[in-house]
Symmetry: none
Subunit: 193 residues, 4 copies
Amino acid sequence: MARTADPSMRSAIMQAARACFAEKGYNATRMNDIAVRAGVAVGTIYRYFKTKEAVCGAFADVSNERILQESLPLLDEGRFFVALDRSTRMTLQIMREELDTYKLAYLMIGFGPYTDFKPSDVSVAMLERFSQSIRARIATGECRPCDPFVTLQLVANLIERTFVSYLLLGAGDIGEIEDAMISFIQHALAVPP
Amino acid sequence: MARTADPSMRSAIMQAARACFAEKGYNATRMNDIAVRAGVAVGTIYRYFKTKEAVCGAFADVSNERILQESLPLLDEGRFFVALDRSTRMTLQIMREELDTYKLAYLMIGFGPYTDFKPSDVSVAMLERFSQSIRARIATGECRPCDPFVTLQLVANLIERTFVSYLLLGAGDIGEIEDAMISFIQHALAVPP
Amino acid sequence: MARTADPSMRSAIMQAARACFAEKGYNATRMNDIAVRAGVAVGTIYRYFKTKEAVCGAFADVSNERILQESLPLLDEGRFFVALDRSTRMTLQIMREELDTYKLAYLMIGFGPYTDFKPSDVSVAMLERFSQSIRARIATGECRPCDPFVTLQLVANLIERTFVSYLLLGAGDIGEIEDAMISFIQHALAVPP
Amino acid sequence: MARTADPSMRSAIMQAARACFAEKGYNATRMNDIAVRAGVAVGTIYRYFKTKEAVCGAFADVSNERILQESLPLLDEGRFFVALDRSTRMTLQIMREELDTYKLAYLMIGFGPYTDFKPSDVSVAMLERFSQSIRARIATGECRPCDPFVTLQLVANLIERTFVSYLLLGAGDIGEIEDAMISFIQHALAVPP
DNA sequence: GATGAATGAGTCTTCATTCAT
DNA sequence: TATGAATGAAGACTCATTCAT
């Protein structure tokens, strides 16, 4: 048999690409940069991705899995007003840790004609899972009546854009306005205690 | 060299560039595309802009002047709860009309290393002007106590990101969630009537 | 290294290569195409041939054996005028059946610097064998006096080039001009009956 | 006005390309080789030709104009038997002088899938012009009855292929068999004097 | 000043070849 | 021995920029 295909190679290349794109942007990243960083030859990248664009495109459904797994449960625990606080903080924490992923996602917005960009299924799934949590809180009267799906989009937009302003676009340390943002969300959603 | 002679030609080139960038993205736009659209020769662009990046950079201070002129006054008129509604709707309307401008602003995010991007002075000026309006509402007790500047950033982020999702990224017609967003903002800021 | 082990594999590879080259030309044929067609792995080709050029080079002595075996005897049978007809028709028939072989031979002409191409020994041998046949016909007075070797080259050139025009280059069905060609050769060589 | 387009540049590039292709073959010729030989930059070639293949393709209707202008008239002068001699010698002389052109034409045969190759209009036109000459000779009884168009194809094939064997493929000096070829053609066509 | 033909450095991509398994 | 994943040199092509007119 031949040298066996290393199943981790595709993701190793993606990880290298993510780092390069996040560091220098799509344009300034050379296929060779990715290859060097991944510790493979240029040609190898092309066994796994048809073009440079395809490498970037592979990040389209960048996973929000961690937010789903770690932030969501917090939304169900304890009083809603407090749960919003905890869940939001955890979300920001995860985003901070996955900085490159979010840099990349934003990078991709500017990447081509906008029509190419579609919110990934994962995000929609995430919103739907969160929706159930909100629905329950509405039922208990802790959350003001609203369309949970739409409202969660608004919250997600708010968090994401603020995160981007601060951590990606260098407006400062997000910690400075974290409290204000949480308070904003709490008042927008929760019936004050 | 730059800012030479005919200032109307400079802005004609910028307008052509904005349209091209918005249509195809920065990467896919050729200097020649801009030239053709502007009805000039490629060489001419170089009398007004040093490089292609410089053409894009000229949009950095993309004007929020209309929002300042048209949305802000509405925030001061009538009851705060209602004023928020009117002002937000007007803001969205302006953004809809200036679609290319916002496309471009988002395009620039993905443009290069993120550190290059700085929120424009105009935006800061805008937030400061709005802040005074909020401060007055806090004084009258119509707005819950908060740091006006930070809070307005949050509102701006929420509106902008939601606008982008819907109008630029094609998630649907923003009209569908306009009411929900306004309600969200009202509850986040205003002491309910 | 070369001519290793299984000789049937070597010829299987050559057959696959011939088909590929004839179909797509030398340039457009990938080593992988040949491998797939031969049902072996790319690496295997390299156990039998040092390089891609070597695969092509192996066709240099493309066999004219069939023409020798099947067309030549016809040239000796019966009256020369008629023999020319039968022998030429048989030659064309064989060429038709060995289309790929001739495609390949022509392909090789365009292959590299022309100096690389040498008429194969087999062809020379063929011409020499035919020469004897012609010499005999000159002796009987059926063929006009000429240098048999040179004259046969001319006949071969005529047949080959015409065959190529019609069957390879798609000028039409060679049957349309087969009679004219035979008549042409008959008049050029034979003393009319 | 800008630097004016040099109308001779396209043909200068083609001439350089012809020389390179004839010298090293299509494969071994680099776009840069052509550029250097033509005394232009690589990019300039691409203003006149879309691809490397296109440069080669531009030779498809390589002109037989000289043969038409210089060999044809000889076919009408004097007795047919002699005219065939003179016309053929002139044709070979022209081909000798236009060696690169013919090298290229043969090179192109091996270039791609054969179906792409079409005899150029010029060639067909040439055959048709020659046909009239032959028709006249048939009328006078100097040429044996035949389909002039088809027969001329045969003659052209014979000359071309023999020329290629000798001058391009290095079988020797065509002068060695020139007499034999002319005699061959004379007997094939002309009623002996 | 305006033009647009020419430039050529820079990069993505290909694919013959190698070699660990 | 056969395999085919990995390699990386090599080259076609692009396109921002220049500059002769």
